[in-house]
Symmetry: D2
Subunit: 278 residues, 4 copies
C-alpha cells in the first residue's frame, strides 16, 4: 500500500455566471481510500455532489457568479492497485464480459477503435494474450510517440496522435485504449494524480479488462503504477474533464502537489502557500 498526499489548487477568473462540474477528488474504490478529503470553494457556494454513471466517480457541481473563484482540494490517499504476482495470460472471451464492461469495447470520441482493427491485429496479434499483449501495446506507444506538450489539443484523437507520432499523457492513454478495444480487450480512461509528475499536473492513464479484473497501465512510463491516484473513470477524456464549465471562466493558475508520503515524508504545510501561482 502506498500513501499519497494530494494537494490541488485551482484559481479561475469567472466572467459571467457559470456552472462548474469538477472531477478532481480522489475516488473511493476497493483499491483506493481517500482519507480526510477537504474541498474548499471560495467564495462559499452551494455544492451539488452527484454520482456520474456508469463510471462511478462523483461529480461536484457548483454555480458561481462573476469574480475570482478558488478551489482547493487536499487528501491523503491510500492506493493499492491490483498487481498479482502472476500477471494474467488470458483475455476474457466476449461472452464472459460483465454487462457493465461491454461499453468499454465500443469506439468513443477520442478512441476510434473501429478504424484500427487491422493495424492493431497486425502489430499486436502475435503477442501472447493478456498482460503481455497490453504491455506490448504500451511499449509500442512509448517507442512510437514523442512526449511533446502542445503537439495535440483538446480535440485531438488517438488517431491524430498516432499519425503525428506525438502527444501528451492523454494521447498515450487514448491510443492504448484504441488498440485494446480494437483487439477485443475492454479499456477505459482514468484521470488522476501522479506522484512527482514533472511538471506537476493532472495525469491520464488507462485500464484494460483482463481475465475478470481491470488492470492499470500507463504508456508514458512517467510514474509507477502504485504512484497513480484515480480521480475518475470514463470511456475517454470526454467523460472526465477536471473542470467542465458552462458559462465563461478562465483558469488562471493550477497548482498540484502529489507526494509519496512513505518515501519522502509529508509536505511541510507551512510551505504549501509558497507553491504560488504557476
Amino acid at each position: 500500500m502506498t500513501t499519497i498526499q494530494v494537494h490541488c489548487e485551482l484559481r479561475f477568473d469567472v466572467r459571467a455566471p457559470s456552472d462548474f462540474a469538477l472531477a478532481l477528488m480522489a475516488a473511493n474504490t476497493r483499491r483506493q481510500h481517500a482519507k480526510h478529503p477537504r474541498l474548499a470553494i471560495t467564495p462559499d457556494s452551494q455544492i451539488d455532489r452527484t454520482r456520474f454513471d456508469p463510471s462511478g466517480h462523483d461529480v461536484v457541481r457548483v454555480s458561481v457568479g462573476p469574480g475570482p473563484l478558488t478551489i482547493v482540494y487536499d487528501s491523503l490517499v491510500e492506493v493499492q492497485p491490483y498487481m498479482p504476482p502472476d500477471p494474467p495470460t488470458r483475455e476474457a472471451p466476449f461472452v464472459e464480459l460483465p454487462g457493465d464492461v461491454l461499453s468499454f469495447l465500443h469506439p468513443s470520441r477520442y478512441c476510434q477503435s473501429d478504424l484500427l482493427g487491422r493495424f492493431a491485429q497486425q502489430t499486436f496479434g502475435r503477442f501472447g494474450p493478456g498482460f503481455d499483449r497490453v504491455t506490448g501495446i504500451c511499449n509500442w506507444i512509448w517507442e512510437h510517440l514523442s512526449y511533446v506538450p502542445g503537439s495535440t489539443d483538446a480535440s485531438s484523437t488517438a488517431i491524430d496522435a498516432l499519425v503525428g507520432a506525438a502527444g501528451v499523457c492523454r494521447d498515450y492513454a487514448h491510443l492504448g485504449i484504441c488498440f485494446c478495444r480494437a483487439l477485443g480487450i475492454p479499456a477505459r480512461y482514468v484521470s488522476g494524480y501522479a506522484v512527482d509528475l514533472q511538471p506537476p499536473d493532472f495525469h491520464g492513464f488507462f485500464e484494460a479488462f483482463l481475465d475478470g479484473e481491470w488492470y492499470l497501465f500507463d504508456a508514458t512510463r512517467m510514474v509507477p503504477i502504485d504512484g497513480l491516484v484515480r480521480i475518475a473513470t470514463g470511456r475517454d477524456a470526454a467523460d472526465v474533464a477536471f473542470a467542465a464549465i458552462v458559462g465563461s471562466a478562465e483558469l488562471v493558475t493550477k497548482d498540484i502537489v502529489v507526494i509519496d508520503v512513505d518515501r519522502t515524508g509529508p509536505p511541510d504545510p507551512s510551505q504549501t502557500p509558497a507553491l504560488g501561482t504557476a
Copy 2:
C-alpha cells in the same frame, strides 16, 4: 397507446466459431411494453442475456459454430411515447441534470459535439428554448440532408453527414444529437423499429432531455413518434448495433415487418415466409 406488431428475421452465414451480441428485442420501459416476445435462434444455442449499462436495454449474447444461423424475433409492442399537450419551453439547466444524464452531454464517436459549438449556437441560438429549439434542429437537418442510402457507411460521423449533406436515418439522428449536445441539451441515440418504413429495416432516431424528461425526435420525418419501437439506447450508434459479431459471419438476409395493428390489423402469419430473402 399504439400496438405494433414486430417481426424480425436475420439469416447469417457463419464461417468460423463466432460470438454474437444482439440488440434487436423491443425494450420494456415505462412507456413501452413488449408482449409475448419470442426469440428463436437456430440451431438451438445457449443464450446469455445481460443488461447493458447504463442504457438499460438487454444484450443477448450467443456463441455459435460455423454454418447457417437464423434469428427470429416476434413481439406485440405497446408504445405510449411522452407527448404532453404543451411541449416544454424550458431546458433543464446544467446543475439540475440528473447524474445518469450527464454523459449524454459528452461528445461521442459519431457525435463530435465539441466541434460544433459555434455552428450550433449561430444556427439555433435564436430559437426559443426547449421543444421549439430541438424541433428547429430537426427541421434544419431535414432541409440540409438528402436521404441517400449508400452515401455514408458504418464509420461515418455526424460531421461527415453535415459536410456531405446526405445520409441515412442513423446520420440524421447523429447530427441531431450533435447539435443538441453542442447547445447543452443532453441527447442520446435510440435504435428501434418503425411502422411501415420503406424499405423495411431497423431504424435510428434520438432523444433529447428537456425539463426533466426525455423526448423522442426523428429528423427523417419518415415515421410518426408513436410509430417508433425502442430497442436500445446509447450515446450513439456505436452502443446499439443490432448484431455485433466477434468472429466471422455474413448477414445473408434481413426481413423486418413492423405494423400498426390498430390501423391495419395484424399480419397474416401465413404470409410471413413469403417475405423471403431480400
Copy 3:
C-alpha cells in the same frame, strides 16, 4: 489604377543552417506592376530566384547560417484588377477551359471540393451563373464564418472552417475555392498584401475563372478588390507560404505596412522604424 506602397520586414532567429523559400514580393502580371522592388537580406546571402510553376510567381531561395536574419521588402505596386462594368453572367463550360486552368478544378490539400458537391449544389445551385454565384458564395461564407484569430491553424482545411464556423482570411479563401470547384468553377488561392489590414499582416483571398478570365474575390470583406496586391498564386495556401523553411528558425517579428498612396500619401520614411517590433 491604384498605387500601393508595400513595406514588409521579417526577423528570424535561425538556430541551424537553414534554407528559406520566400514568396513575399509582389508579382508582375498583366494587371499589376511592382515598381522599384527592393529585397534586402541581412546578413548578405546568395539568392536564388526561381519561377514557381505553374502559378508563375517567383520563389526566392536563400541558404543561411545560424544567427539573426532580417528580410526587408519594399515596393510601389500599381494594381488594376479586372473589374468589367458588366460582371460575367456565364461560367465557361468544361470543354472550353484552357489547359492551364484545369488543375484548379481539382481538390487540394486544404480545399477538399470533392466532399462538398452536394452541399454546394443545394446551397448555391439556385443562384444565377457567373459573378452572381461566386458573390453568393462569398456572402454565405461571410455570414457563416466568424473571423476569429486562433480558431484555426496551419493544418486546418476549408471543411474544418465550415464545421467550426470560424477562421481567418486563409480559411475564408479556402472555403470559397472549395465551393467554386465543387460547382465546376475553377478557383485558386492568392496570397498578397492588403491596404490598411488590421492588424497588419499578409492576406489571403481567391480567384474564380469565369467566362475566360480570372476574377478576384475576398469573402472577408476586409479590403476592397483594388486594395489587394498579389504575391503568389496556387492551388491553396500550401503553394504560397510567405516563408517555407527547411532547417530550424523562428519568426521573431513581422512588420507589414500597406498604404494606398493616392488616398493617404506615401508613408513618411522616417517613421517606418517606429513601427517597431510587433
Copy 4:
C-alpha cells in the same frame, strides 16, 4: 527497352449530355514512346486534346449526348525507365531543386505530408539517403499495408490507408508520396498501365526526385519498374483520373490488356473481342 502492348476499352452508359476528360493514352516522354496510338470514340465525337499543365500529359475532352459511349485505346509503347547501375545515394538539397519540381514537395488532397513529418523522420530518418531511403519507404509500406480491394474509396487519403493498414495501388502510391515529401524529397503520382496486372486494371505508382532525376517506385511489388507505362503525372490521384465526367454517366465495362510483347508475343488480335464485358 521493353515493348508493351496496351489495349483499353471502356463502355459508358451516358444518361445526360456530359463532358468527359480522359487521361488514358500513354504519354510520350524522354523515356517512353507510344507508337501507333489509336483512340476511337463511338459514336464519333469532336475531340479536344489539351496539354495538362504542369504535368505535361494530354487530356482528351469530348462532349457526348445520352446513350452508349465506347472508348477504345490501343498502342505499342516502348518504355525505358531511368534505372542507373548505381542508384543515387544523394537527395538534391532544397536550394538545388528546379522550379518545376518545387510543388511536388507540397501536401496535396490525398497526400497530407505536412501531418507526417515526425512519423516519417523517426521511421525513415535512419536510412541512408537517396534510393535507399525511398526503397525503405516502399518496403515499410508493403509490410504495413494489406492489399484489399474495397478497403478504400475515391475520397480516401494516404493517412486513411496508413491508419486502416490497407488499400489498393493508389493508396500505396499516396503513402509513398506522403513520406517522401515529409522528408523533403519531391514526389508525384503516376497513373498508368502495368504488364500482367491481376485483375487487369489501370495502375497507380509514384516517382521521387533524387539527385536531379525522377525515379519510379511501386510499393505494391506487383509489377517490375520496366513493366509500367506512364499515362499521366500529377500531385496525386486528383490530377490524373482516367475519366473525369461532368454530367451523368456510368462506367459499364472496363477491359484492359497489357502485355510485354518481347516476353509473350503480341496478343492475337482475333481474340481481343473475346475479352468481352467484365
